[in-house]
């Protein structure tokens, strides 16, 4: 079935079971990722962005549990898969680069052995073929193949992070989920890793779900952006449209919080207050207490995502199409 989108997340709910009852870290989040697309999922701490990534990888550990919704990969429900199906699915169909990927490598094995290990285990290739492919993978992420013989501690943080990306690409998955893959890196290295990802997207037709707290990073190569706040998607739009005409007050505030090195120096405003405590979410809109445009309706009714322009959705009572 070729018509199903590559990834469709429908009404996903992840709750943490606490003594005082379940707390929803991800609350009815829905989005679609088409082939060749890079979707940027942006949010601050507590927005649920990393929980979404962990739910997709099905690596959530108690007390966090998926309590609702579906995750469809090419129409197949990922959440319904058993361990065996999951093992065949992960890395081959959807792989992951997590924030600490650079620390996820074994310190006692060489880079080459670790990549070869993955290839031999999953594809039953011969060691010789696997070694050639490992060398090719390193080249792909801009690392000299002689580094196959290096141990992780001999590589810089940026190089280890790129090895993490090479591993994620090893089995040619159509989709890679990246959760803050460059947060721990210096700007020059970050720029190199990001351009590498952008290049691979073009070269391999890769689709990427890119999760970050930093809008300026995804502005460069995401085709679409979804903004998360307190576990809910509050706005989704094509990247250009979102930066040109943000509609949700939170998105507007977030964009106004960025300092730039270009253009005139303007007064930074930021957003008053801080993100809400998910254990004590107020009735109505979660952003209301920090919102300068809140109306009476916002105190009682939680807004849901609705279309306000072509391909542009916002969950806000005050915004009109």
């Amino acid at each position: 079935m070729g018509s199903a989108p590559l990834l469709a997340v429908e009404e996903l709910v992840v709750a943490y079971q606490t003594p005082s009852g379940p707390v929803r870290a991800v609350d009815r989040v829905s989005f679609v990722l088409e082939r060749g697309e890079v979707l940027g999922l942006v949010g601050e701490s507590g927005s649920g962005k990393s929980t979404v990534a962990q739910a997709l990888a099905r690596i959530l550990a108690p007390p966090a549990m998926i309590t609702g919704g579906r995750v469809l990969f090419e129409g197949h429900d990922v959440l319904a898969m058993n361990e065996d199906e999951l093992r065949r699915f992960r890395w081959r169909k959807m792989s992951f680069v997590l924030q600490s990927a650079m620390n996820a490598l074994s310190p006692v094995l060489t880079i080459g052995d670790q990549i070869i290990d993955v290839l031999v285990t999953h594809e039953r290739t011969s060691k010789r073929v696997a070694r050639e492919r490992a060398a090719h993978l390193l080249e792909l992420v801009g690392i000299d193949p002689t580094r196959l013989a290096s141990h992780p501690h001999e590589l810089s943080g940026g190089m280890r992070q790129r090895v993490g990306i090479a591993l994620a690409l090893a089995l040619h998955p159509p989709l890679v989920v990246m959760d803050e893959p460059t947060t721990a890196l210096d700007v020059v290295v970050q720029h190199e890793v990001l351009s590498k990802i952008a290049e691979l997207k073009e070269k391999l037709g890769l689709s990427v779900l890119f999760i970050t707290h930093d809008m300026s990073i995804v502005s460069q190569f995401a085709t679409r952006i979804g903004v998360l706040y307190a576990g809910r998607l509050v706005e989704t739009a094509p990247t250009r449209e979102l930066f040109r005409a943000p509609r949700h007050p939170y998105t507007k505030g977030l964009l106004g919080s960025f300092v730039s090195i270009h253009g005139p120096r303007r007064k930074l405003v930021g957003i008053p207050g801080s993100p809400p405590d998910l254990r004590r979410l107020p009735a109505g809109c979660a952003f209301r207490a920090r919102c300068g445009e809140a109306a009476a309706q916002c105190a009682t009714e939680a807004p849901v995502l609705r279309v306000i322009a072509e391909d542009h959705h916002t969950a806000c009572h005050v915004v009109s199409p």
Partner: protein, 335 residues
């Protein structure tokens, strides 16, 4: 020539160097964390210290708050050498002038102590108050200053009841308790959410304007440095490679490393296709080779760069660059 202004700057670093002994007991090596760093910081001024990890910016901070002693060079406060003074009492006197706030607002506060207690301690330790009624008034005034209101309510809270941004305000209030002239702020916003960074940066600007407090703002983020700092210094491998007024430096960077750093910054308006003028790579800090530390990565490298370490050269508009590309300051007509 007119008589030069002899009022000494608030803080002056002269040829600071710091070596750490690493590795082998029989054949020790030396990690050069800081090399020949000189700068001044004036009253009511924010000076940003910008660099990537390992550039030596935190080493400068540690030397400036006297957590460590420099291997060479000296630090002057109001023109007086602070290193010669005895430890102990002198340190306390120094701390009354120079305070520090750290990156992690979660690690720098004691979870078993209320916010009020955190602020009482420096007030008592530095003899800022005598009576308990006055103590409470002062604590509340400090909280007011940093915008944590209602103050009596906040004073009764514990750190874990506050958000990251609020905790960083407490850290600033604690630094303000001794009425310092200078605050060293080591990445004070990098662990905070983007939407609350603005508040802390604006608070720093406010304290400078209204109270005349100077800041040494240490960061890896050029954009926020531009926002708060009057002047900035760019560091690479323990060297201050370039310094000058923030706008002038960013509009027309001179040092190839500054150019690289600027082009690598993701920006909402920037385009990504453009490549970088140089590649990433870590400089050798342990027993470094002679010459410019950036030579191995520099697109404009010449032979002299591998032989001789460039010296800082002053240019127009208070700019200083440490690069063989700019050997002589441009001549000014009046001379």
């Amino acid at each position: 020539m007119s008589v030069p202004d002899r009022t000494p700057p608030l803080l002056e670093a002269q040829h600071l160097g710091k070596l750490y002994r690493v590795g082998g007991w029989l054949r020790p090596k030396h990690l050069r964390a800081l090399h020949d760093a000189s700068f001044t910081l004036g009253h009511r001024e924010i000076l940003a210290l910008v660099g990537e990890s390992g550039s030596g910016k935190s080493t400068i901070a540690r030397l400036c708050v006297r957590l460590e002693a420099p291997t060479s060079g000296r630090i002057l406060l109001d023109g007086r050498d602070v290193q010669g003074e005895a430890r102990g009492h002198a340190t306390l006197a120094y701390r009354r002038r120079v305070q520090m706030i750290f990156q992690d607002p979660f690690g720098s506060l004691n979870p078993a102590r209320t916010i009020g207690k955190h602020l009482e301690r420096p007030l008592l330790l530095h003899g800022k108050t005598k009576t308990s009624a006055d103590l409470t008034t002062r604590v509340h005034a400090l909280l007011d200053t940093v915008g944590l209101v209602p103050a009596p309510e906040v004073a009764a809270k514990y750190p874990q009841e506050l958000s990251g941004g609020q905790r960083q305000r407490v850290a600033i209030a604690r630094a303000l308790a001794v009425e310092p002239d200078l605050i060293l702020a080591d990445e004070p916003v990098s662990m905070l959410d983007v939407s609350i960074r603005a508040d802390i940066l604006n608070l720093m600007l406010d304290l400078k304007e209204k109270r005349g407090i100077s800041f040494l703002y240490i960061t890896h983020d050029l954009a926020s440095a531009r926002y708060v700092a009057d002047r900035m210094m760019v560091m690479y491998a323990g060297h201050i490679v370039e310094s000058g007024p923030s706008e002038a430096l960013l509009q027309k960077p001179l040092h190839p490393y500054t150019k690289l750093l600027l082009s690598a910054i993701p920006d909402l308006e920037g385009s990504f296709a453009r490549g970088l003028p140089a590649r990433s790579g870590a400089p050798a800090l342990v027993d470094p080779p002679p010459g410019c530390p950036f030579a191995a990565r520099c697109p404009d490298v010449a032979d002299v760069c591998r032989r001789e370490t460039p010296r800082p050269v002053s240019h127009d508009e208070g700019r200083v660059v440490r690069c063989h590309l700019y050997p002589e300051p441009p001549r000014t007509r009046s001379e």
